[in-house]
C-alpha cells in the first residue's frame, strides 16, 4: 500500500483512496477505542466518528506517522465520550467489558490471539480476563498509555504523538500504570508466575 500516495489522493478529495486507508487501520482504530471505552458499541461509534473527522480534517495532516495521527483522532473521540459519561454516569467500565464473558468473546469478533499459553487455553483466557479487568480499572490517562504501549506495541514517541503529551509524561504515566496493574493482579495470584508469588512470600 502506497500510504503517502493514498493520503495525497484523499487530500485532493478522493474518498476511495481514504477508504483504502480506513481498511488498513480500521482494526487498530476500533481496538484502541474499545480498550479506552470498554464498550464495543461505543467503540464502534467512536471509530466511525473518528474516520469521518479524519477525512474532513485531512488537510491538517502535515506528514509524519499517519497511524499516530488517526489514532490521536480516535483517542480524542474516546475522551469526548468519556467526558459525556462522567456527566451522565450510568454505566461503569467493568459492566461494559464483553471479554469478561466467554460467550460474548466469540460474538465480539476476536482476531487470532497472538501466541497463547500452550499449557491451557482456558487458563490463558482467564488470565486475559484478569488483565482486562485491571486495565479497565486504571484511570483514563494511565489506561490509555498502557493500551498504546503494552497492548498495541507503540513506542514512546508514537504514544506521545497520539496523546499529544511529552515523552517524559508517557514514560512516567506508563510506569504508574504498570505499578497499578501489578498491584491489581495480586487479586489473581493463582494465575501469576513465580516472580509474583515470591513477592508474596517475601512480604
Amino acid at each position: 500500500m502506497d500510504e503517502s500516495g493514498l493520503i495525497g489522493d484523499a487530500q485532493r478529495g478522493d474518498l476511495e483512496a481514504f477508504n483504502r486507508l480506513i481498511f488498513a487501520y480500521k482494526d487498530q482504530v476500533y481496538n484502541l477505542a474499545y480498550r479506552i471505552l470498554g464498550d464495543p458499541l461505543a467503540a464502534d461509534d467512536a471509530a466511525q466518528e473518528a474516520f469521518i473527522s479524519a477525512y474532513k480534517g485531512l488537510r491538517r495532516y502535515r506528514g509524519g506517522s499517519f497511524r499516530a495521527w488517526i489514532l490521536r483522532i480516535v483517542t480524542n473521540a474516546c475522551y469526548d465520550e468519556l467526558r459525556r459519561r462522567k456527566r451522565r454516569p450510568t454505566i461503569g467500565m467493568e459492566d461494559l467489558n464483553p471479554l469478561d464473558d466467554p460467550e460474548e468473546t466469540d460474538s465480539a469478533g476476536v482476531l487470532a490471539a497472538e501466541g497463547g499459553d500452550p499449557e491451557s487455553e482456558a487458563q490463558q483466557a482467564e488470565l486475559a480476563r484478569a488483565l482486562e479487568e485491571c486495565l479497565g480499572g486504571l484511570p483514563d490517562e494511565f489506561r490509555l498509555v498502557a493500551v498504546l504501549v503494552d497492548v498495541q506495541g507503540h513506542d514512546y514517541r508514537e504514544a506521545s504523538q497520539v496523546l499529544g503529551t511529552p515523552l517524559g509524561t508517557v514514560k512516567s504515566r506508563l510506569a504508574r500504570a504498570r505499578l497499578r496493574m501489578r498491584d491489581c493482579l495480586q487479586a489473581h495470584r493463582e494465575l501469576l508466575p513465580a516472580a509474583f508469588r515470591l513477592e508474596d512470600e517475601a512480604t
Binding site: K56, A128, V151
Partner: protein, 250 residues
C-alpha cells in the same frame, strides 16, 4: 527488603521498553546485577507487558467505509447548482413579467381619465344631458390620440351614439353628426373631407380610430393573456423547483 522508588520503577519500565539513553540503560543494568528486587520487578513488568500484548485483538465490526453523503459530499454535484441557477433565472423572469404587467396596468390607470370621460355621457344620458357631460366629452375628444387608445376598450356603441348625437358647443371645428350607432362601426374615412358647410359632420378622427381601437384592444388583450400565462407558468415552475430542492435536502 528494599522498596523501589517511583523513579526506580520509571527507569525500569523505560528500560524494559528500550527507551532509556545508553548511559541510563548501563546504570540500570549494573544495578540489576546487584539487586534481586530490581530483577524481580523487571520480570513482573516483562510478564505483564508480554501478556497484555497477547490480549485478543478484536475485529472491527464493520468496514467504516465512508460515502459522499457521510462526509457532506454531494453525489450529483452538478445538480444542485443547476437547480439553484434555474430557480434564480425563473424567479428573475417572474419578477420581470410581474413588473411588465404592473407597468401595463399603471399605464392604463394613468390614462384612465379617458375611459371615465367616455363613460360619463352614457350615465348622463339616463338622466339629463348636462353641460358637464358635454364638457367632459369634448375634453376627451380633444385628446384623440390618448382618448382613442385608452378609451378603446371601454368604448361602447351606446356611448358613441350618444356622443355622435350630442352637439358639442366647444368644438368649433366640427359638429357631431347625426350618425347612427352603426356608423361608428364602419370606418368612414371620407367623412373627414366633408365640407365645412355641413353642420352635422362626424368627428374627424373618431371613425378612423375605431378600427385602430379594435386592433389595439385585441393586441392589448393578447399581450395581457401572454403576461398572465407567463406568470402562472413561471410561478408553477418556481414552486416545482423549490419542491425539488427541499426534497434533495431531505
Amino acid at each position: 527488603m528494599t522498596r523501589l522508588t517511583d523513579h526506580d520503577l520509571e527507569q525500569l519500565s523505560a528500560y524494559l521498553d528500550g527507551e532509556l539513553k545508553p548511559s541510563e540503560a548501563a546504570e540500570i543494568e549494573a544495578r540489576l546485577k546487584a539487586e534481586p528486587e530490581l530483577q524481580r520487578s523487571l520480570s513482573q513488568l516483562r510478564w505483564m507487558s508480554d501478556n497484555l500484548k497477547r490480549l485478543p485483538t478484536l475485529r472491527a465490526p464493520r468496514s467504516y467505509r465512508l460515502t459522499p453523503e457521510m462526509v457532506g459530499q454531494r453525489t450529483g454535484s452538478w445538480r444542485l447548482p443547476a437547480l439553484r441557477l434555474a430557480t434564480a433565472v425563473m424567479a428573475l423572469a417572474l419578477v420581470a413579467v410581474i413588473g411588465l404587467d404592473f407597468l401595463g396596468s399603471a399605464g392604463r390607470m394613468s390614462l384612465a381619465g379617458a375611459p371615465q370621460a367616455m363613460e360619463a355621457p352614457a350615465s348622463v344620458q339616463d338622466s339629463v344631458q348636462s353641460e358637464q357631460a358635454r364638457t367632459e366629452k369634448t375634453e376627451a375628444d380633444s385628446q384623440p390620440a390618448a382618448g382613442a387608445q385608452a378609451g378603446a376598450v371601454e368604448e361602447t356603441p351606446l356611448a358613441n351614439a350618444l356622443r355622435a348625437a350630442e352637439p358639442t358647443p366647444g368644438a368649433d371645428l366640427s359638429s357631431p353628426a347625426e350618425t347612427p350607432p352603426m356608423a361608428m362601426a364602419v370606418p368612414q374615412t371620407g367623412n373627414t373631407e366633408a365640407p365645412p358647410t355641413i353642420t352635422q359632420t362626424p368627428l374627424p378622427a373618431e371613425p378612423v380610430e375605431s378600427g385602430e381601437v379594435r386592433a389595439a384592444r385585441d393586441q392589448n388583450t393578447a399581450r395581457m393573456a401572454i403576461l398572465r400565462w407567463s406568470e402562472i407558468l413561471l410561478g408553477a415552475g418556481l414552486l416545482l423547483l423549490f419542491a425539488v430542492q427541499i426534497k434533495n435536502r431531505r
